[in-house]
Symmetry: C2
Subunit: 414 residues, 2 copies
């Protein structure tokens, strides 16, 4: 008998028929003798419906009241799923975030979970109940309703699993697990059976949209094994867990792709230190996040600065730079908002510096120009022209044999 | 500056346009310098929509989960109204029933309010906030969400007014106040400017659907003046308050009509005491409520028993009686489910026994047969054939001059 937290997203409880389906699935697992805590999102479309209602009263709606409004979406889901479970003889009991004391900070619309009091749930579980908790929501220290922001139900599930010391946190979604690459771009992409917290964190940060980053962080911190599964397909999904001592493991686990990038280059900055700090200062004051950044030197002592931002911030950043560039006396700005980021992630990268070299070789062979590059312990990212993205992604995916069941000797060798 | 609790029902916040209208109205009162606590119901139709969703999962849905589900209706209303108020520069803050500690018993779907902690609201009011509270809902001592049953928002408003010692509790509705009779039946019916708690209680019990009985009870107990007003028409409505020393006051204030009645008569019960107790016992065991009841004696020592029940319980009661009648050896049952109740209510009735006589006279003149009759301190009710109801109601209404602005000398005289 295991204690399992299961999270079902908005599409999994998207309509009456699907809620019936999910209730059948949960009842079956309950009949096998497991203790179950279920976390659900709002029925798909419901959050958007509520938000557009709010916009009929205000274009900049008050964040506190938005949380009061949006949190009803999950409350409807927990009640309906509980009714469906009770009808199947499964003794369900629903709770809002506030009712199980999911305490958050007071940043409305994107609150962070601070603590969870698992006492009530543990007591109910000991009585044989199935607990159904509203995802995405909590309560600040003044008793105000807060929401965690979109995708926050993952975080609720993982935080509950950590608080209850659950054996596994299962994230049910509309894909069959975590893939070596986005299957829409790389058709050969295959489901990974296992991946480490660190790898998943990098993949999430790099733009893979399977799991919310905060959820993976909490899972890693409290060592909660996560399994990403399909609601509507059978299968064992992808296990996200701590690193195993497995020497036969491939050095590269997966690939992430991100099209939301825009690149900016400022040429010939005369006074490098003050110039760069002025540039980055004005961008950060405007709440624009800089992703990759590269500084290059000229023989005459002048400096170039290249960096990327989210594509939605491109125009804003460009007009900020136009001012600063004149102030600091730099030569000019090159900009390109049609770039993309291609990344390889794997625990083996830190012990295998050749991964980076091999990636560059493959892209060179494909005559793909690398505009920027950055590496970390377990990640290599390159910025390339967006038009080269799919070709590059497929070539790299194939060369690293991410689509094959067993890593080749070559892969093990490097 | 007064502290006013205002309640807006489902039709008052029925759509986006009406919420804008109500927000304008509240902002205006706020601008006059009053302290305001607003209680709102779910947008009209929303409770039905949620309930029919529930029925797609269970024909006998779990009462606890129904409360979790239905309470979202008011939560959406408080958020939207608060957004509308904030947009108008009116510093609104919304609270669910649980958030302001509206403690109820644990009878889901028809819970009774036990206590309210006004501290949070008083603090917010002192900061100049307008408080918007979800009606119809509360929380039991275990933190479970409860609902008060249909119409419960009236009770929330009056209970809040009592807890906060508000100067007035204003119930905004789709009629302009409390009428001397149902205007759909008696076109001459007019709005009363003032009525006592006791009179309103009788009118509500007798079938006038303006206010929930429990709300009037609380108002009377804590002496909270209630004003029933129209949301969409200007006017001073009807004040429901304690009795005034006013000798010029009419002895009869209003008339109530109730069509949901059915009459049953059991003839020739041989052993009166044991027979009647067996009849009433079996009816009460079946949770059927007996309304009016009359026992009559024959010269031979046998007894007849006549009583009325709610029309929906008629068939059930009839089949129960068929059994009992044989057991106790009574002669037979007469039944009639096409009867109605006509009642006069007024504080003056207790000091004016002639009201009853006059009512009987008027009905006799109209050749309307009285099937059953009952009187209390401030009420006279008769059961008549439903076909005679409208004619009887108009005749009585006119004879007691309920439609006239000032009571006539005759009325003052009796």
């Amino acid at each position: 008998m295991a204690l399992i937290v299961q999270k079902f997203g908005g599409t999994s409880v998207g309509d009456v028929k699907r809620i019936h389906y999910v209730a059948d699935k949960i009842s079956k697992t309950y009949a096998e003798g497991h203790q179950l805590v279920i976390v659900v999102s709002a029925m798909s479309g419901e959050t958007d419906r509520l938000f557009s209602l709010a916009q009929q009263f205000s274009q900049t709606p008050d964040p506190r009241e938005i949380d009061v409004l949006l949190s009803t979406g999950e409350q409807v889901s927990i009640a309906l799923l509980s009714l469906a479970l009770i009808e199947r003889g499964c003794p369900a009991k629903s709770y809002t975030g506030a009712q199980v004391h999911i305490r958050t900070d007071d940043v409305h619309n994107k609150a962070r979970i601070l603590s969870i009091d698992g006492q009530k749930i543990r007591h109910d579980l000991s009585q044989g109940k199935v607990i159904v908790v509203a995802g995405f929501q909590g309560m600040d220290s003044f008793g105000n309703i807060t929401t965690l922001g979109r995708g926050g139900s993952d975080t609720t599930a993982v935080a509950l699993a950590a608080a209850l010391k659950a054996d596994e946190c299962q994230i049910y979604t509309d894909v069959e697990g975590v893939y070596t690459a986005d299957p829409r771009i790389v058709p050969e992409a295959k489901r990974m059976t296992r991946i480490t917290f660190e790898e998943m964190l990098e993949l999430s940060s790099l733009g893979a949209k399977v799991m919310q980053i905060r959820a993976v962080e909490i899972a890693g911190k409290y060592n909660v094994p996560i399994r990403v599964l399909s609601t509507f397909q059978e299968g064992s999904g992808t296990l996200i867990a701590a690193e195993e001592e497995d020497l036969s493991k491939s050095s590269v686990s997966g690939m992430a792709i991100n099209r939301d990038e825009a690149k900016l280059v400022i040429q010939n900055i005369p006074e490098a230190i003050s110039g760069i700090s002025q540039i980055l200062g004005c961008i950060s004051n405007a709440h624009v996040e800089v992703d990759m950044i590269l500084r290059s030197f000229h023989e005459d002592g002048k400096t170039d600065l290249a960096f990327t931002v989210h594509r939605r911030d491109f125009q804003k950043t460009l007009s900020l730079l136009n001012q600063v560039v004149t102030e600091i006396g730099a030569k000019k700005i090159f900009s390109n908002d049609k770039v993309a980021k291609l990344s390889l992630v794997g625990m083996g990268i830190r012990s295998e510096p050749r991964v980076t070299g091999k990636m560059l070789e493959i892209l060179a062979k494909e005559q793909i120009n690398i505009l920027l590059m950055s590496t970390s312990e377990i990640k290599v990212s390159v910025i390339i022209d967006e038009k080269d993205l799919e070709r590059g992604a497929r070539a790299v995916h194939q060369a690293f044999e991410l689509g094959s069941e067993v890593p080749t000797e070559l892969m093990q060798g490097i």
